[in-house]
Amino acid sequence: MTRKNLSTSRRALLGAALSGGGGFLLSAFLPGLPLLKASHAQDTATGVVFRPNAFIRITPQGSVTLIMRYAEMGQGIYTGISMLLAEELGVTLDQVSVEAAPADPAYVDSVAGEEETGGSSSTRDSWIPLREAGAAARMMLVSAAAQIWGVPENACQARDGRVFHSASGRSLSYGELAGAATHQPVPAKVSLKPASDFTLIGTSPRRLDTKAKTNGSAKFGIDAQIPGMKIGCIIACPVKGGHLSGYNRAAALAVPGVVDVVTLPDAIAVIGEHMWAAIKGMEAAFPQWEYGPNATTSTADILAQMKKASEQSGVVAVKNGNAQEALKQAHTRIDAVYELPFLAHAPLEPINTTLHIRPDGADVWVGTQVPGRARQEVADATGLRPESIAVHNHLIGGGFGRRLDSNSIGQAARFAKQVPYPVKLIWTREEDITQDQFRPYYYDRISAGLTQDGAISGWHHRTTGSSVTARWYPEGMQNGLDPDAVEGAAQTPYAMPDQLVEFVRDEPDAVTTLWWRGVGPTHNVFVVESMIDELAHQSGQDPLALRKKLAAHQPRALKVLNEVEKESGWGKALPAGHGMGIALHYSFQTWAATVLEVAVEKNGQIRLVQAHTAVDCGPIVFPDGIVAQIQGGLIFGLTMALYNEITLKDGRVEQTNFHNYRMMRLNEAPDIQVHLVSDPDAEIGGIGEVGTVAAAPALANALFAATGKRLRSIPFAKQLGGEKA
């Protein structure tokens, strides 16, 4: 995803975080939502609370609260971020509680340029600043203790939530020091521990958010329970651009438990005492629609338009040498079209928002990747001032990009402002899939060649599709180029002296598009890595050996390739019907190589046998978190590559629930081994989307090895005839 390269330096962030310093009385607590307590420390406070910056709060009673500017959606970020803060603050993880940050500019992610969890940027953007925030707080606590004892600061040590003066054997807890620490000056300069002194970073402690997720006590947005709350379900016009033309109000209100029916020009909500009343009420309301201009659109229409657009040249993203001439000279040449479908996100927690809109302000309980945008949506929908709107961010039951858009929160606010009580508005699974904003369909033309001795001779890649950047973040467009649309295509791991990469923007009217896990790289790495494989086979070379040759100038690429080669036993004899495929990529500042083994039965049934991924993401904060993200990311991507596509007929999305938008299930999942071969001195890389990126190309290449059939469009299973319902 294209990021705003705001010049927010880490000093500036620390300064902003520290400027709120000093003591806050209890009444100044922000209305954050205490979500998870790792300790039994009392969170009730009397007296002066030490709040050295926006991320740390220590009460005189000794409770240490870390405030999370990122949303926890399963990626383990609460744990990773707490480790960064705790390492320098000098507390153990079982001494802290964590709490979601309120919507506030203090929590802006400087890579994203807004309060956002996405782009695999959270750890990257926190690596230095949050350690500095922890260190600054520790220094203030140490100064306070040194002053109390009348000893030099450098005679004191901080660890495990206490400051020690070993010469005299005295110690004080952080709680005991909280009041005095608020009077200490904010340090002008902080120095960070050398990696050799880390006690937390690089270890795999138990995750902070998981215990509550084993016993039903974890609260996701959909679990919000507010006194006096009613519950509603929403249906919007199934065709984009249409509007509500009628409904049976009396029949809906006659359903026991139904309280209200409220409408927007293009949607209807039935509100009841409980979700079942709302669902039955919606059936009775039987909404009618005027479908509007997209009433007859099908996927074939969208595709025909896209194909036509792809015949014209596009905005140039990269032009090196002369690709056309080099292609003419190529010894081996392949011209191909790759296609990637629209995709829904289908997080297991469907879209929902709970709101209480009052004349003077509002509360919003929701799981969002963008709390600042969420607040603005509610402000726009209600006319309330943003400062009067409190966003209580919750655990997220799966984001994958969906909760980077806040349109559903704006829609919910337009309904909720029509009723005086708090209301939880839920999209059914059917609504969640059909009204999703989809990963764009991409139509990629590519021509590539090899010289006689196996170097790339000409590479011309033209991608055509919708631009998410243009809608979601128009400032990110570069003279008509959407950098996301070519991410993973413009820069590849390989030496390409004659390379031309272009983008043709073609917007389908009938769908709205959005980020989807792995963003640009999930799209382009499929095309690039499939094409490299095609070139290898066509020229009779081993696909892994060819990659090593073409990426010989990238030592970190060679390292991950060598590692998966060894671990997967690449080249060993396989049973009949089996094949191994490889994919290499550099995405989100992380290098990764994946080898996947598949077996294809006579009837076309695909079985995923085993996957190995080698990863170099620079410094490692939370190793088990990395392994989990690669495993989950691969399964997410393999699910898509095998089964998923969103199609339209008569303007409507044809897939509605998990029976026809199929998920991989446990019995189909391969074993996945992850090998960490990180370079601790490299720049820190992201991880949440890395696994997903490799899935489709590794699978396509493995299926070719197993069957000799090159699959250039996703999804694959139905093309081999082996899809089980």
């Binding site: 997720k213 297991l348 399964i635 998990f658 299930r665």
Partner: protein
């Protein structure tokens, strides 16, 4: 209509329509939100509870059909020996990502181990195939079930 439900060994009287699924009774009437809504049509398993010890999908189980039976939800599974073991194995193997599916996964795994204390991979496949995890924690779910089972050995 009035129904007497026995939930987590406690009798609860509810006044709801007879066709109302137990899922919504638990979540919206009784405030037991650990049981999740994922699909509403028995496709995902997020709503799995035990009815007289059998794993069932609460999104399709009507309150009328459940009345008079023992219902066990994720909130009380720790009080069963197997449930507590499964929860511990889930933590030890760090199975959980977003966690939204995991109430259902834990209820399904607990039912499996109660009936088959030493399940094979094939048993696990069969018992767990109805529970979707969108975060893809399957590799670890399998390991955690084996781990919970090994405590019995």
């Amino acid at each position: 209509m009035r129904f007497d439900l026995k939930i987590n060994s406690v009798l609860r009287e509810v006044d709801v329509p007879p066709d109302m699924p137990v899922l919504w009774v638990l979540r919206d009437i009784l405030g037991l939100t650990g049981t999740k809504y994922g699909c509403g049509v028995a496709q995902c398993g997020a709503c799995t509870v035990h009815l007289d010890g059998q794993p069932v999908r609460a999104c399709l189980l009507t309150v009328a059909a459940a009345a008079g039976h023992d219902i066990l939800t994720i909130e009380a599974v720790e009080h069963t020996e197997t449930g507590a073991k499964v929860q511990q194995a889930w933590l030890d193997e760090e199975v959980i990502q977003c966690g939204y599916c995991q109430s259902g996964q834990i209820m399904a795994a607990t039912a499996l181990l109660q009936q088959t204390p030493q399940p094979t991979d094939a048993d696990i496949d069969e018992a767990m195939a109805g529970n979707i995890c969108r975060c893809g924690t399957y590799v670890r779910i399998r390991k955690a079930i084996h781990k919970a089972a090994s405590h019995d050995a």
